[in-house]
């Protein structure tokens, strides 16, 4: 037993562990600063957010160490069971009393548990297990459907809470699929779809009118027209100029693609008018810079950017913030979704850059670990971890620095929230455990 423990510790990937611990503790001290109060400055106080956070970090590390003692096979074989348990939790949580308007939490004493945070690693485990099963090929339509359902079931339940932010994270699995052989065209198609969709919303939101030859109509109609022209041009461009050999063959694909683009624009316009609520519309308008609204919906973004900007090159110093902390509270959610403000204000551009570099190194390390696996399960699980963390990181920072609309998703290891840190820690420790036995596993 002792020998085995030694073995595991000896084989654990030290760079990843160190980066993980760095992020966790940097995160804790940022939470401390963001919710710091001069009235009770002690680090451990259960009345204060950072006291609870410290407890959760402790729990996470204990659970992490427990995971390191598990057998790799045991983890692999428990994948569906874990997935099932978490799925059940997602179902039950819908019947829990709403907190802040969402049925997302189990309340146990003064602690709350958010099962959607566990759904991230549970779904990753399930996907990894399924795709690593022998005979399963990503190219098969059947595989795609099953994977889709593995993702869609928890996704659907999460949407019912409702928690659209977390749902968005589930889209990150597309990167994993791509790595595992999903056609690049689909990824590319989705990429274009996002761009076309965002632009459609932009034109719709701008509500601008254009005047062409005396005809005045909405810019969004002009945009539609441009897409039609573009599709036709691309079609003829490809078929007659670039690849004359394929003349006629890609006809159907292009027509379908063009039609889908048009459909997308129409549905974006439709959604904008009929599905979105005013608050969503406002967020888009603020993000597109159509509004610099510092008191209404733009308030969060305005305050956040002010805090970040006020940090300057080297920041104001630890605990010296004047916008994003509990004392002044100019930045809302300063210890959760907007915690980056606190960091950026106190450590300035230099600190922000270091944070981004550490994060990048952390994610790159995860991908490196995933790539060196012989075990398909571990590789896929590694990619799932990297994709989810990347997605969180990208959307959270983009939102805070005003590059994306305000979407409520946390910055892993920084944002206050016990379930999140536990969930992410479990992912990292599973990966560390699986990686530590990579030499013992053949497939």
């Amino acid at each position: 037993m002792e020998n085995r423990a030694k073995n595991i510790i000896g084989k654990v990937d030290v760079p990843l562990l160190v980066l993980f611990l760095v992020l966790v503790f940097a995160g804790f001290f940022t939470v401390y600063s963001a919710s710091f109060s001069e009235e009770s400055p002690q680090i451990y106080s259960m009345d204060k957010a950072y006291g609870k956070q410290l407890v959760w970090i402790g729990i996470s590390l204990v659970v992490g160490i427990l995971i390191l003692t598990l057998e790799g096979n045991f983890i692999r074989n428990s994948a569906y069971i874990v997935y099932g348990i978490v799925g059940l939790m997602l179902l039950i949580v819908l019947f829990m009393p709403a907190i802040k308007g969402a049925h997302s939490w189990f309340k146990i004493g003064s602690f709350t548990l958010q099962p959607s945070e566990f759904a991230k690693f549970a779904t990753s485990l399930a996907i990894a297990h399924f795709l690593s099963t022998s005979g399963v090929k990503i190219q098969d339509a059947k595989t795609k459907v099953i994977v889709f359902f593995l993702i869609a079931v928890p996704g659907f339940l999460i949407l019912q809470q409702p928690d659209p932010g977390t749902l968005l994270v589930f889209f990150s699995f597309i990167f994993v699929m791509y790595r595992e052989g999903l056609s690049g065209n689909i990824l590319l198609g989705m990429f274009f779809a996002v761009i076309i969709g965002v632009m459609a919303i932009f034109f719709k939101a701008s509500d601008a009118n254009v005047n062409v030859f005396g005809w005045e109509f909405g810019a969004n109609y002009l945009y539609l027209f441009v897409i039609v022209v573009a599709v036709v041009l691309i079609h003829f461009g490809i078929t007659y100029l670039v690849m004359p050999r394929y003349r006629g063959k890609k006809y159907i694909t292009n027509i379908v693609g063009g039609a889908m683009a048009l459909l997308l624009v129409f549905s974006c316009n439709y959604a904008y008018d009929n599905v979105f609520k005013d608050r969503h519309r406002d967020r888009f308008e603020v993000m597109f810079g159509l509004k610099l609204d510092r008191k209404g919906v733009g308030y969060n973004s305005y305050q956040a950017l002010s805090a970040i900007g006020s940090g300057g090159a080297v920041g104001k110093g630890y605990l010296q913030g004047t916008l994003s902390n509990d004392k002044y509270k100019h930045v809302p959610e300063q210890s959760t979704d907007f915690i980056f403000c606190s960091w950026a204000e106190e450590w300035g551009f230099l600190g922000s850059l270091i944070l981004i570099i550490v994060y990048a190194a952390f994610l790159i390390r995860i991908i490196m670990i995933a790539e060196r696996q012989k075990s398909k399960f571990t590789r896929i699980f590694g990619y799932c971890t990297a994709s989810i963390l990347f997605f969180h990181f990208m959307i959270n920072i983009a939102m805070v620095i005003g590059l994306a609309p305000v979407i409520g998703i946390p910055l892993p290891f920084f944002s206050k929230g016990g379930s999140a840190i536990l969930g992410f820690s479990i992912m990292i420790f599973i990966l560390l455990r699986m990686d530590s036995e990579r030499k013992d596993v053949l497939r």
Binding site: I308, G309, G312, L323, I357, M394, I397, I401
Partner: protein, 606 residues
């Protein structure tokens, strides 16, 4: 991953390092500046009496952008205003040069009592705050024209201060607008202090960042004698005109009275606008005009004969003993003894005598052409007259001092009788301008200049620029320009006949009403021709004859003739100043003056 990191890095570089917008916005969010108004300096009279005091008042400020979630009804009730007024005030605070994210005055000058009633509730209204300030108070209610007043800076003045000035003022600051308040604004206002606070999202001040203390303004120690000023204003009740009294040995102004006057307290506090409009527009007597310095188109009348005598003797065109016949064919006159010398001529104010004196000054026979000769003569004469402070701007420390007019060659060449149709060069001579000889014609003077003339004669040949402030600050000094002697172009030796004549004017001549028992008063009456109504009554005097303590000029508009009202008022002022208690004769005179109502409501005053 790398692309995303790069994008984030660039964006952060822009937001945090390259661009200052967000830093400024952050400051706007967190910083709260509270202005600490310094106490404005006080004004004292020459005997240490408080002329201008300060009252503690409170302004309620509003920052329209921060007004949210308030109970408007409750607020209106608290301030006792209507909903319309409330909206109007908010509108006013967000438009024009008031901007909605900065605080502007919502209600000004609340008394301590009013403020203490609303203070406990003020905190519950977001966007409203109070600031303490001092307001002017005038214990004696006199000298409104001299003291001037203080009011909120005008949009134009603020703009000027921001663009061309020293950028000192805030939009809510109070500045001196006229009088000493304006001239000594910089000394009186002191230095503003401010406190910076960091505030939280709800607008509570949490941390004091920095504080600069306010420095109180300097006190002004004026030369006014408040009792004499008040007495003069009392005597001028129901009359139009001016009284200026100067201490000849220093040039310090003892009183500067413009009648009708008004209570300076009217232009302090919340009723400013109504009262100002009333004073400016609704009163046909135009009390807002400061007549002794601003009205410079009075002709000096016979008083000018004093100047003519002195210049003529200095220039050598006559001697003290030169006599001229009282030739009524030249210019009209009354019957009197033969003017065999200067003294008798002045004493009886002989018009033909001075016609001939002036002729000698203007046409000296240096040129054969009388036109060329007159041009030369008038230039010389003009320079001499100006040395008596006439036709030049006296640099008194009060705004609006006017120059008056002593005509010169250019004036007759190009401006008289009108600019479009002047006489033209070499087309006028003494015979055209002889009215100047007896102080009529084209001469214009202000009462201040006439009082200064009295001071010059009292001093036998020199004056200090009349001024109102003895020292700035308790240990301050007088401005250096007021310590400088200005010599009139007539030597001291020529003054004796003039002074003797002035003494005789009071004892036996036109100003017997100015006699004071056992005090030698020297004076000269003037009756200033006025086309619209009765002539103006003018009198200048100084006393005592030797070592004079007070020089005075009194103008009573429409007062008919010099000896009638002006001389009596001047003598009462002199007696009050030198003796404090009036004699029986003086009391009788006082009653006469107080009973007199001399107004012409229909005159079109310019």
């Amino acid at each position: 991953m790398l692309v995303v990191s790069l994008v984030f890095g660039v964006r952060l570089l822009y937001v945090q390092v390259l661009n200052d917008d967000w830093k400024n916005r952050a400051e706007q969010i967190t910083h709260h500046e509270i202005t600490i108004h310094p106490a404005r300096g006080l004004l004292y009279d020459r005997n240490g009496e408080l002329l201008v005091a300060v009252n503690q008042v409170y302004d309620i400020l509003v920052t329209p952008k921060e007004v949210k979630n308030i109970d408007t009804l409750q607020l209106c009730e608290l301030f006792q205003i209507s909903k319309e007024e409330f909206l109007q005030k908010i509108e006013y605070a967000s438009t024009g040069y008031n901007v909605s994210y900065k605080s502007s005055v919502f209600i000004e000058s609340m008394s301590k009592e009013e403020y203490s009633r609303i203070a406990p509730n003020l905190k519950s209204f977001n966007g409203f705050e109070s600031t303490r300030r001092t307001n002017r108070g005038y214990p004696y209610s006199v000298a409104a024209h001299v003291l001037g007043y203080v009011r909120k800076i005008s949009a134009e003045q603020y703009e000027e201060d921001q663009t061309l000035g020293e950028k000192y003022y805030n939009q809510n600051d109070y500045v001196g607008v006229t009088g000493l308040e304006k001239v000594y604004e910089k000394e009186l206002r002191g230095e503003r202090g401010s406190a910076y606070y960091l505030r939280d999202y709800a607008g509570n001040d949490k941390t004091n960042l920095d504080e600069t203390y306010a420095v109180a303004g300097e006190n002004l120690y004026t030369s006014l004698d408040v009792k004499l000023q008040a007495y003069g204003e009392l005597l001028m009740t129901n009359k139009l005109g001016s009284i200026v009294a100067i201490e000849p040995s220093t040039g310090e102004i003892l009183t500067l009275i413009s009648a009708p006057s008004f209570d300076p307290n009217k232009l302090s506090g919340r009723e400013f606008s109504e009262n100002y409009k009333e004073l400016l527009n609704n009163d046909t007597l135009k009390p807002i005009i400061n007549r002794p310095i601003y009205n410079d188109n009075y002709r000096p009348g016979s008083i000018f004969k004093l100047v003519q005598s002195l210049i003529a003797m200095q220039e050598g065109v006559i001697t003290e003993n030169t006599g001229f016949a009282c030739n009524k064919a030249l210019i009209n006159c009354h019957s009197h003894e033969h003017p065999s010398n200067v003294q008798i001529a002045i004493q009886h104010s002989c018009n033909p005598y001075f016609y001939q004196v002036y002729k000698r000054l203007i046409q000296r026979g240096e040129k054969t052409s009388i036109f060329k000769d007159s041009r030369l003569g008038i230039e010389k004469w003009n320079a001499s007259v100006k040395s008596f402070g006439l036709g030049t701007k006296l640099n008194t420390d009060i705004p609006g001092v006017k120059t008056g007019r002593i005509p010169d060659a250019n004036y007759y060449d190009n401006e008289f009788p009108s600019k479009s149709n002047p006489y033209g060069k070499h087309r006028w001579a003494f015979s055209t301008i002889y009215s100047n000889s007896i102080g009529e014609g084209e001469i214009g003077v202000s009462p201040l200049q006439m009082a200064n003339l009295a001071a010059i004669i009292a001093n036998r040949g020199y004056y200090y620029t009349p001024h109102l402030v003895k020292k700035i600050g308790k240990d301050g000094e007088k401005r250096p320009e007021y310590l400088e002697k200005h010599f009139a172009m007539a030597d001291a030796k020529y003054y004796d006949p003039v002074v003797n004549a002035m003494e005789q004017v009071v004892l036996n001549g036109t100003a017997r009403g100015a006699q004071i028992d056992s005090l030698s008063v020297c004076g000269k009456t003037g009756t200033v021709q006025n086309e619209t109504f009765n002539d103006h009554s003018v009198f200048i005097a100084f006393a005592p004859k030797e070592n004079p303590k007070i020089a005075i000029a009194v103008y009573v508009e429409y007062g008919t003739w010099g000896g009638l009202w002006a001389a009596k008022i001047a003598s009462l002022m002199i007696e009050k100043y030198l003796r404090e208690e009036l004699s029986e004769k003086g009391k009788k005179k006082e009653q006469e003056v107080l009973d007199a109502i001399i107004l012409d409501k229909h005159s079109d005053f310019k």
